[in-house]
Each structure stands twice: as structure tokens, then as C-alpha cells.
């Protein structure tokens, strides 16, 4: 789960809660910055605080919200896009997870599913679309071609989309079944909940860094 479940303030009368004040030491706050929910609960028990929404958990709260409305970019490169459409369709129904709203503009999207092989001619467009998506953003490489180029070890196909942009989740398959993409999107939701990204703080574009620009 993304955040601790708040406990009623009056439920526990021991410790600081008896005074009606919510106090927590700085040391505890600092230690909770990257803590898991269980650790947070444990620390709260030690300080006899019945449960509060900590600032350290704000990111988790945001991530929790984002994970239920992750809108991908409406963007398909090849045959994998057909499976992506099937995933978004009524049978597999991505709208159960709030992902059905595929935005046609990168400026309104939360990330992209790179579905299919990417040619060298398409590569600059893929990078541009990726950069136009506002932070925070997540990328799914869908299918063997987007992961590694698959059998197209040729003059015109980029050998793996992660040579161009940072990738969060790889979904193998040729093409992956909608269940596989769904599994990948579940993994992505875990990352979204934890606010973890593939890109670094400087938003480095791997292709650009490798070419040396």
C-alpha cells in the first residue's frame, strides 16, 4: 500500500497522544524518509503516536493517486500497438486502472508505451515526444523490438529503445499478449506508487549522452 492508514486520534491514550499534541522527533522524521510502511508504523508505535500523515509520506500519497490515473501517450509504432489497443479495449479494459485515457498530446500524458520497433528515422521523433511529456514520466518498452531490436539487427532499426530514452519497465514478447502488458503496467504502477523513475536527476537522454552532445 502507498501510505499508512490513519488511526483515530482518540483511540490510543498512551504517550504523547494523551496530551492531544502530535509530536515526532526530527531524528525519527529523517529516518522515515525512505522507510517502508511497516517501518513507519513501528516508529510511530515507538513514539506512541497513534498515526499521522507525515510529510515523508506526501510523495507516497501523490504516487498513490498517480498510480490510479496513469495516462499513456496515444502512440504506437508497429504491431505491438494492436495488442496495446486490445489491452485498452473492453476485454482487458485498462480503464479499470484508470489508464484508458490515452492522450493524443504528450503534454497531457504521464508516460509512453513504446509499442514496436523504432526506426532510425523515427528515433528523433520518439525522443522529442518523450521530452514533451511533463515530469514525472514513465516509459514502458513493449515487445522484443522495443527492448532489443529483436530479429531486426538491420541498418534501419534502433537496437533497443533504451539506447534512446530511459526505460522503466520492459515487457517482452513478440508481440506481448495483453496480459503481459497488463503485468508490465502493474509493475509500472508499483514504480509510480513509490515515485521511482528510470531517468536521472539531470534528465539525461542516453542517446544524446552516448553520441556526445
Amino acid at each position: 500500500m502507498g501510505m499508512t492508514k490513519p488511526v483515530g486520534l482518540g483511540a490510543d491514550t498512551s504517550g504523547n497522544a494523551a496530551t492531544g499534541k502530535l509530536e515526532i522527533s526530527h531524528a525519527t522524521l529523517a529516518s522515515l524518509k525512505n522507510a517502508s510502511d511497516a517501518q513507519v508504523r513501528e516508529a510511530l508505535d515507538e513514539e506512541h503516536i497513534p498515526g499521522v500523515a507525515l510529510p515523508a509520506n506526501l510523495e507516497k500519497l501523490l504516487g498513490f493517486g498517480r498510480s490510479f490515473s496513469w495516462w499513456p501517450l496515444l502512440f504506437g509504432l508497429a504491431c505491438c500497438a494492436i495488442e496495446m489497443m486490445a489491452t485498452a479495449g473492453p476485454r482487458y479494459d485498462l480503464s479499470r486502472f484508470g489508464m484508458e485515457a490515452m492522450r493524443a498530446s504528450p503534454r497531457q500524458a504521464d508516460g509512453m508505451i513504446v509499442a514496436g520497433w523504432c526506426t532510425t528515422k523515427m528515433a528523433p521523433r520518439v525522443v522529442r515526444l518523450y521530452e514533451q511529456i511533463p515530469d514525472p514520466k514513465w516509459v514502458v518498452a513493449m515487445g522484443s523490438c522495443a527492448i532489443s531490436g529483436n530479429i531486426w539487427n538491420t541498418y534501419s532499426v534502433v537496437q533497443g529503445i533504451d539506447a534512446l530514452i530511459p526505460v522503466d519497465v520492459y515487457v517482452p514478447g513478440c508481440p506481448p499478449r495483453p496480459e503481459a502488458l497488463w503485468e508490465g503496467l502493474e509493475m509500472l504502477r508499483d514504480k509510480v506508487k513509490q515515485s521511482r523513475h528510470a531517468y536521472d536527476g539531470l534528465r539525461t537522454i542516453p542517446a544524446r549522452a552516448a553520441i556526445g552532445e
Binding site: 532510425t120 528515422k121 528515433a123 528523433p124 525522443v127 539487427n153 538491420t154 541498418y155 537522454i205 553520441i211
Partner: protein, 176 residues
């Protein structure tokens, strides 16, 4: 090994096409074949445009549509390694015809854009992939590959992984 049996009847409409083309161009055509219901003529370069115009304008043939125009590369054929293949369709007669032109290395072909404007992109692609020049083409530039691509990728001697290669494409420099 048993000889191949030709089981497909030659349709009447194709017999007319065959007869009219033989009658008009006669011995100048380099060859013809009928295989699995498909009629193919090999046309000399000089008569290429004349044959195309004849196929389009003769009421008996009425090939209104250019289905496709593409190239071929046969490195084993030393005299004429390049080839251009034209597929024509007659919607009114329900017939199809294939024309082949054999070309020497570096030999150019007159453009068919004056006969069917739809030949434009097909010829661009054929030039891009095989390096076959089309004289008089209005806009012979690369269609599918990047603008600065070097080489003709569908030639048999082109390395599959290209002349740049690698996971990190240095040819993307300045583009991304």
C-alpha cells in the same frame, strides 16, 4: 522430379492482352511467361514507356491502374543485374499484367510518372533501395530512409546491419 504441370487455364481476357501486345510490339519484346495465372512480359528499355502507354490507352487492354513499381537485384546476372518490375491492373477487364525491364549497372530508365502519376513514390523507393535512376522524375529524393542515408539497402551487396551500425547510432548526431 516430375515436371511442373500447368493446371491453370489461361483466361480469355489475358489471351487478348497477350495477342495485342505480341501484335503491337512483336519481336521487340524480350520474352513472356504465363505462370499460375499471371502473365509476364520482359520489355526492352527503349520500348518501356511505349508499352506502358499502349497498355493504358488501348481499349482492349485498358490497364487503368499501376499497382506497383519495384526493383530487383540479381548480382549473378552480370550483363543486367538490375531489374524494374511493373504490375498493372485493369479494373474494367479484371486482368493483371506484369512487365519487367532488365537494366545494366548504372543504366537509367525513363520515368513512368507521365503515364501514371502514382509511379512517383514507387520510383522514389526503387531508386532509394536499388539505386536505379529514373530520368525525368520530378522529385527523386529519399522516401523511407533518413535524408543523409548512404548506400542502397536492398542491393544484395549492402551489409544487413548497414554502414553505420551499432546500438548507439552515431548517424543520429545533430538530430536528437
Amino acid at each position: 522430379m516430375e515436371a511442373r504441370q500447368e493446371t491453370v487455364e489461361i483466361p480469355e481476357a489475358l489471351k487478348v492482352v497477350f495477342a495485342r501486345l505480341e501484335e503491337e510490339f512483336g519481336g521487340r519484346l524480350l520474352g513472356s511467361s504465363f505462370f499460375r495465372g499471371e502473365l509476364t512480359f520482359t520489355v526492352p528499355v527503349e520500348d518501356y514507356i511505349a508499352v506502358l502507354k499502349y497498355c493504358r490507352d488501348t481499349p482492349d487492354l485498358a490497364f487503368e491502374r499501376l499497382d506497383s513499381l519495384l526493383g530487383n537485384h540479381y548480382p549473378g546476372r552480370k550483363e543486367a543485374p538490375m531489374e524494374v518490375v511493373v504490375h498493372l491492373t485493369s479494373v474494367s477487364k479484371n486482368t493483371r499484367l506484369r512487365l519487367k525491364v532488365m537494366l545494366a549497372e548504372g543504366q537509367s530508365l525513363p520515368t513512368a510518372t507521365g503515364v501514371w502519376p502514382s509511379a512517383d513514390w514507387d520510383e522514389r523507393e526503387t531508386w532509394e533501395m536499388y539505386g536505379i535512376q529514373f530520368d525525368g522524375h520530378p522529385n527523386l529524393i529519399r522516401l523511407l530512409t533518413t535524408e543523409d542515408f548512404e548506400g542502397f539497402p536492398l542491393r544484395k551487396d549492402f551489409p544487413l546491419q548497414g554502414t553505420v551500425g551499432g546500438r548507439i547510432r552515431t548517424d543520429l548526431k545533430g538530430k536528437i
